[in-house]
């Protein structure tokens, strides 16, 4: 049997792609699978579903999920709404210089996050922070009703990247709202409100929802920002994972893996959902 030229090229291609494929197998696929295995194995290697059931039955893990989801939903929805309004204003303002400057600012801040952001917020909204003291001068005791080291505090900090991220995500959608549509609407006797209710919002809605789902994803997995800000004072899934894995208080790698699986599943499903909605949004948005 002799190899045809075509089969040879195919073999050559496989060899050429091999380094990349082996790398991805070793550092993406195999680790994800072993995480899954770790979540259902005891330390002696027996099969167990204890870790996975603990997540839904033990109060401390339930709470971490509730807090994480709460922060992600609230910062996602708020970020989505504010970001949409801001994105609209940026695309529609008549001042070109302002528009370019804000676009740049949004693009850069959309990449913010991590330990730097956490520490930076402590210097403005912490107990001795600049704004905390500024408000005190005006007779407002911020600390009596707000703490940066809390679930609500984390929402305020996450909005720092959520809002700009939404702006950047929404720009193509705003670009797709065509002038002819508002003209057509006006010539048929519609006013500004009719335009938004019947054309603007329906066209933008899939993009807005898709954007919010992506914001949700971006805060579900946030860890560095939270650690810098709250240490372990707020019970989040990511912080719980780090406590369980580091073993300073309790060493339970299997439990950490189970939490990791839960986090991964929720994020992966959300990304899948994002794609479904995004496909719908693309109908109007010509890239």
């Amino acid at each position: 049997m002799r190899l045809s030229g075509k089969a040879l090229t195919r073999l050559g291609l496989l060899v050429a792609f091999a380094p990349f494929l082996i790398f991805c197998a070793m550092f993406e696929l195999v680790p994800i699978v072993s995480l899954g295995i770790g979540s259902v194995s005891t330390r002696s290697g027996d099969l167990t579903t204890e870790y996975l059931t603990n997540i839904v039955t033990k109060q401390v893990y339930q709470q971490s999920i509730l807090n994480t989801v709460f922060i992600s939903v609230v910062s996602g929805v708020l970020g989505g709404i504010i970001g949409t309004a801001l994105g609209y204003a940026i695309t529609r303002t008549r001042r070109t210089g302002v528009r370019r400057a804000l676009f740049t600012l949004a693009t850069i801040s959309a990449n913010a996050g991590g330990i730097s952001l956490g520490f930076a917020f402590i210097t403005v909204l912490g107990a001795a922070g600049m704004i905390t003291i500024l408000l005190k001068v005006f007779g407002i005791d911020l600390l009596s009703f707000f703490s940066i080291y809390s679930v609500v505090g984390l929402v305020v900090v996450y909005l720092y990247f959520q809002v700009p991220l939404m702006v950047v995500l929404m720009l193509p959608a705003f670009g797709s709202l065509r002038t002819e549509w508002s003209e057509a609407s006006a010539s048929l006797g519609g006013d500004n409100r009719d335009f938004w209710r019947r054309i603007g919002i329906p066209v933008l809605l899939p993009s807005i929802v898709a954007g919010i789902v992506l914001l949700f994803v971006s805060s579900m997995g946030a860890y560095a920002t939270a650690v810098a800000l709250v240490g372990s004072r707020v019970n989040l899934m990511t912080i719980q994972i780090s406590i369980l894995r580091r073993g300073e208080v309790i060493f339970a790698p299997g439990q950490a893996d189970a939490m990791g699986v839960a986090l991964l599943l929720s994020v992966a499903l959300s990304v899948g959902l994002y794609h479904l909605i995004q496909r719908r949004a693309q109908r109007w948005v010509q890239a």
Binding site: F27, V168, L263
Partner: protein
């Protein structure tokens, strides 16, 4: 798994910028002015929100004492010199630099030929390659850390605790950025046509890659490298889990000194902000290419 990542083309932005504003034709000018005023309020609020933490952390890094006044009691450069003179400063920054540069090298060597082949020889591989490259977006950094520890702390291959594993993990988080940057660069120069022309003239595929393609996608590689750099330099989650104190990076050091030497931490934070702003501005303005948004590396 086609587009987890949001990309915005600045040239696309130009279209938005130059498009006529879609005010309904009958709208009176007074409502237009009111609208601009509303926009301005929104812009100022957003600008302040973005700038306040930057100003706060910068002032803290040069403050003598600052706890019960709106602005610091006095200013000093002592914290900056103390930070730079700390032996751990050079060591940890050095390690972060080494890790980031190694990440860039591995990423470029691994990805460039792969994406090139995608364009000239095996477009059918695209869905697989794209899936594998964009997968890290659906993979929270801490989950990546966990799964790598789980895989590489037992035989046959023990890598846990080594800088090598850290670099390989950074390569994973950089995959989406590298993929986008290279794919866009190769598309922009019409790689398929160039390669055909080159092979008509008798060049082998490898010679084409080396002499025709590589010299033309330099800026694309640079843009990808800068993005990879900004994700890996000063990174905290992966380095704290995978190497921790055994090979302390600047991110881990910055967090470790917060309780005892908060001023030094803020100096490091200011440096971190400056680097990420410069990198973002270079990508945005110099390359006039795509601004890529990170999701997951927070």
């Amino acid at each position: 798994m086609t587009d987890v990542q949001a990309t915005t083309d600045t040239s696309g932005m130009a279209n938005v910028v130059d498009a006529p504003t879609t005010t309904v034709a009958t709208e009176a000018t007074s409502t237009g002015a009111a609208r601009e005023l509303g926009f301005s309020i929104l812009f100022v609020a957003f600008g302040l929100y973005i700038l306040f933490p930057l100003v706060g952390v910068f002032l803290f890094s040069i403050a003598t004492t600052w706890f019960d006044t709106v602005l610091p009691a006095g200013y000093t450069l002592d914290h900056i010199t103390a930070t730079i003179n700390d032996p751990l400063f050079g060591q940890t920054i050095g390690r972060s630099l080494i890790a980031s540069i190694a990440t860039i090298v591995v990423s470029v060597v691994l990805m460039t030929p792969t994406i090139f082949l995608l364009h000239v020889a095996a477009p059918r591989m695209r869905p697989i390659v794209e899936f594998l490259c964009l997968l890290p977006f659906a993979l929270p950094t801490i989950v990546l850390a966990l799964s790598l520890i789980r895989t590489y702390s037992t035989k046959p291959l023990v890598l846990s605790g080594t800088p090598q594993l850290l670099v390989l993990a950074y390569v994973v988080t950089g995959l989406p950025f590298m993929y986008r940057a290279l794919d866009n660069a190769l598309r922009a120069i019409d790689t398929a046509v160039l390669s055909e022309a080159s092979s008509t003239l008798g060049a082998s595929r490898w010679a084409t890659f080396q002499r025709v393609i590589l010299p033309n996608i330099g800026p694309g590689i640079m843009a990808g490298a800068l993005l990879v750099f900004s994700v890996s330099f000063g990174e905290f989650t992966l380095s704290s889990f995978l190497v921790g104190d055994a090979w302390k990076t600047s991110g881990v050091w910055t967090v470790a000194i917060w309780d005892d030497q908060p001023h030094k931490t803020t100096v490091m934070v200011v440096i971190g902000f400056i680097i990420s702003w410069v990198v973002s501005l270079v990508i945005l303005l110099a390359f006039r290419k795509r601004a890529t948004i990170e999701i997951g590396a927070r």
